[in-house]
């Protein structure tokens, strides 16, 4: 029987077929059961899958850590480490892909997206351990406890603070890389000009304010950091304050209007309006402030050693021209009546494993990060640097690997502050709190005019943060 079809009917059928083909192509791939790791998917606190020794058959994993062929900087050692891993693990094939060349915030977005779907990278690297906690809270990274005895026996040799920041809810979620510590860098030439001993660094806020006043001249400011962003957070930590505290049930208490926050805001405000030791450009971003420091417009800068390594290549500063020091303590911390133990931000580069992959790939991924960041490899990296005449300041994550083993071309005075800050270090008192931007607005209002009401603005910010962020977060916790 002949089928007759009008043109309109044909076009309808063709259109429908096209849409169906497109939908079929987009449908999720039916994957066999073993390709999932359901025990880590929803409940990050559940125990990890039991780790198994190295796989017998060849396993392929995907890692975003490709080092460019023409690389010349400190990170180029990764290529050497990758070769060593390949030689030592013929049963694991690592596909190295280019690292996403985007800002830290965008990289976070990149990983969250990649790890929320199947087929993401086997292993994830990030610059900051806070991110590890966020990813662990979302169930996006696998607990590594079962792998440590197999592939990372040096776990006990890590500094306690490094162990602490590698955990979330009692489970280990990252293998730490380089340790990052926050401190201040002070120009030694400006200190000398101001009549200070070149090795001087301020121990508390009165000394800090006095130093900033003496360092402020017609040509440069004593203090020019981004106040609204994490510069404020760092000073708050050193006064033993916090914006948020997390309770055992993971609910969060806000402390925007605590005495430590008020003291810190007052100190910042005094720097601007009373002592005039900082530029009026107090709202600037990090890059602008770094530029000012590089162009001799500021005597101090809020620092991490890894930035210094990068700065060696881009600015005229060399480590012997700068002091690196722990932050000065605020009044609540000095009087030991602060809300929390005063701590300085200590973080690490972090290596994590994607839980949404077949078990053998997860095992291989864990093996890869434990090898690449092992104590032995950290020592080899330091030797490689020295052989290649690279300069860098690091604190080792291991107690038995001194800082000057992993640093090269740096004067002795850089060492003690690294260790002091490591002693001060503590974990963030509320790693799950992601509403820090509500404080920004309050600080903006406070620093806008000399007659602003600090307490009222902070209270307003807290109310807003509760209403717009925290209430929803708590509802989410309750499921």
């Amino acid at each position: 029987m002949a089928i007759s079809l009008s043109r309109r009917e044909f076009l309808k059928a063709a259109g429908l077929t096209t849409v169906l083909v497109a939908l079929a192509a987009c449908a999720p791939k039916a994957t066999p059961e073993p390709t999932k790791a359901p025990e880590q998917k929803a409940e990050p606190t559940k125990p990890a899958a039991t780790a198994t020794p190295a796989p017998a058959k060849k396993v392929k994993i995907k890692v975003y850590d490709l080092v460019a062929e023409d690389c010349t900087g400190p990170g180029c050692f990764d290529r050497e480490a990758q070769k060593m891993f390949d030689e030592a693990h013929p049963n694991i094939e690592v596909e190295h892909l280019p690292f996403p060349s985007v800002s830290v915030e965008k990289r976070k977005e990149y990983w969250v997206t990649a790890l929320s779907t199947e087929g993401g990278p086997s292993v994830v690297f990030f610059d900051n351990a806070t991110f590890t906690m966020q990813m662990a809270a979302m169930g996006n990274v696998a607990p590594l406890d079962d792998y440590l005895p197999l592939y990372y026996p040096e776990w006990d040799d890590l500094f306690p603070i490094v162990q602490e920041i590698s955990k979330y809810n009692g489970k280990v979620y990252q293998i730490p890389g380089m340790v990052e510590v926050n401190g201040i860098a002070v120009r030694r030439d400006y200190l000398k000009e101001a009549g200070y001993d070149e090795n001087f660094y301020p121990k508390d806020w009165p000394e800090w304010l006095e130093m900033c006043q003496k360092l402020t001249t017609a040509d440069h400011w004593g203090f020019q950091w981004p106040m609204i962003e994490w510069g404020f957070g760092n000073f708050l930590c050193m006064d033993g304050g916090t914006v948020a505290l997390e309770k055992e049930d993971r609910t969060i208490e806000l402390h925007f209007a605590s005495k430590e926050v008020i003291e810190t805001a007052q100190m910042f405000k005094d720097c601007v309006f009373k002592y005039k030791v900082t530029g009026p450009d107090t709202f600037s971003d990090f890059a602008t402030n770094l530029n000012n420091f590089q162009q001799n417009k500021a005597a101090t800068f809020n620092f991490m050693p890894s930035w210094l390594n990068w700065l060696f290549g881009t600015a005229k500063f060399q480590p012997e021209q700068l002091n690196f020091a722990p932050y000065p303590l605020g009044p609540s911390a000095v009087n030991k009546n602060s809300l929390i133990k005063p701590y300085s931000g200590v973080s690490t580069h972090s290596w994590m494993v994607n839980p949404k992959q077949p078990k053998d790939e997860m095992d291989a991924g864990a093996q890869y990060i434990c090898y690449i960041r092992s104590k032995e490899m950290i020592k080899k990296e330091a030797e490689w640097w020295k052989a290649n005449e690279l300069r860098g300041v690091y604190a080792s994550p291991f107690k038995d690997v001194p800082w000057n083993t992993v640093s090269s071309g740096v004067p002795e005075w850089w060492g003690q502050p690294l260790l002091t800050i490591l002693e001060y270090g503590g974990v963030s008192p509320a790693p799950d709190y992601l509403g820090a931007d509500y404080l920004d607005k309050a600080l903006q209002e406070i620093l806008r005019a000399g007659d602003s009401d600090i307490q009222a603005e902070l209270q307003k910010g807290e109310d807003r943060a509760k209403r717009e962020f925290l209430d929803e977060y708590h509802k989410k916790l309750q499921g």
């Binding site: 079809l5 043109r7 969250v112 929320s116 600037s284 992601l434 509403g435 607005k441 600080l443």
Partner: protein
């Protein structure tokens, strides 16, 4: 010759029903060539839009999607949010400054270009040339122009014996500063307006000249009314572009100081990717979509009224 029958013959019906292979042969390649673009459009434009709408109804959980159904709660949170209101006002102000400072400039430049007797092609080329400069380079140059210590803007202020300004760091100034570069005009708009002006009937213009109309009168009563539809289209495009502003502000200020230059789309980004509130971020996005639709439709409606 018999009268034609009112009822079509069976043969005629069959011939109409059957595929006209000749016509199909002409249309099929078109369908095949269009299909990838249409499918891609559906997948990458309409699917995310509908997915965003769906997500906005949930307290979205990235690990166990979709999470708890919350109905319109995310919309209620959005509309009652102080931050949303502030950011919405910021976006409108950025749009208003963009309009006041920049929208009319390419129109004037095109009109002047049209009056040129010599060097028309050279100046048209020069106006369009900056389009070829990558946007990021342009923004970085401006960022340094606004630098409070080393920037050109404050150097000019000093020459004029005026106080230095914190162009990008003063919450009161930042929005205006962000839109000041649009005063330079140029770009693709000049090319579009120039093309529109050249489409105005020469006979009408010549007749106006014969009647003694001045250059201003010709512009005011002949050229401008004729290019108004194009102006309207570019107005709508600039309106939607302003409501979706992100990259230029992100590069210049990151949304700061505080929230003072944060735009609606940056607010979406903040909610979704910084605070992990994907449902709420989607609700913000849906509200932006509705606002854009309302404003665009309102403008298209007024354009229709003007035409009638």
């Amino acid at each position: 010759m018999g009268m034609p029958s009112a009822v079509p013959s069976e043969a005629l019906v069959r011939s109409q029903k059957l595929i006209n292979w000749q016509r199909l042969g002409r249309t099929l390649p078109g369908i095949v060539f269009l299909a990838p673009a249409v499918i891609a459009f559906i997948i990458f434009r309409y699917y995310p839009l509908l997915k965003g709408l769906y997500m906005s109804l949930f307290r979205w959980d990235t690990q166990n999607p979709p999470g708890a159904f919350v109905g319109l709660n995310n919309f209620s949170l959005t509309l009652s949010s102080d931050v949303f209101r502030e950011v919405f006002v910021n976006t409108l102000l950025l749009y208003a400054f963009g309009m006041l400072l920049g929208f009319w400039v390419p129109v004037v430049q095109s009109l002047l270009l049209n009056e040129l007797r010599r060097g028309y092609y050279l100046f048209r080329f020069l106006y369009v040339l900056p389009v070829m400069v990558p946007g990021i380079a342009f923004l970085m140059v401006w960022k340094y122009i606004w630098h409070p210590d080393f920037g050109l803007a404050n150097a000019v202020m000093l020459i004029l014996h005026l106080p230095k300004q914190l162009w990008l760091s003063d919450p009161k100034l930042v929005k205006l500063t962000l839109r000041l570069p649009s005063l330079l005009g140029g770009g693709m708009s000049v090319l579009i307006y120039t093309a529109a002006i050249q489409n105005v009937s020469l006979e009408v213009i010549e007749a106006a000249i014969m009647d003694g109309a001045s250059a201003w009168q010709r512009t005011r009563f002949i050229i401008l009314p004729n290019i108004l539809p194009i102006v309207g289209i570019l107005f709508v495009l600039s309106l939607t572009g302003s409501l979706l502003a992100f990259d230029d502000v992100w590069i210049m200020t990151g949304g700061g100081p505080g929230y003072s230059s944060t735009t609606l789309v940056m607010g979406v980004y903040q909610r979704a990717f910084v605070q992990n509130q994907y449902g709420l971020g989607s609700a913000w996005a849906v509200v932006i979509l509705i606002c854009t639709l309302i404003l665009t439709l309102a403008r298209l409606w007024t354009m229709r009224e003007e035409r009638m």
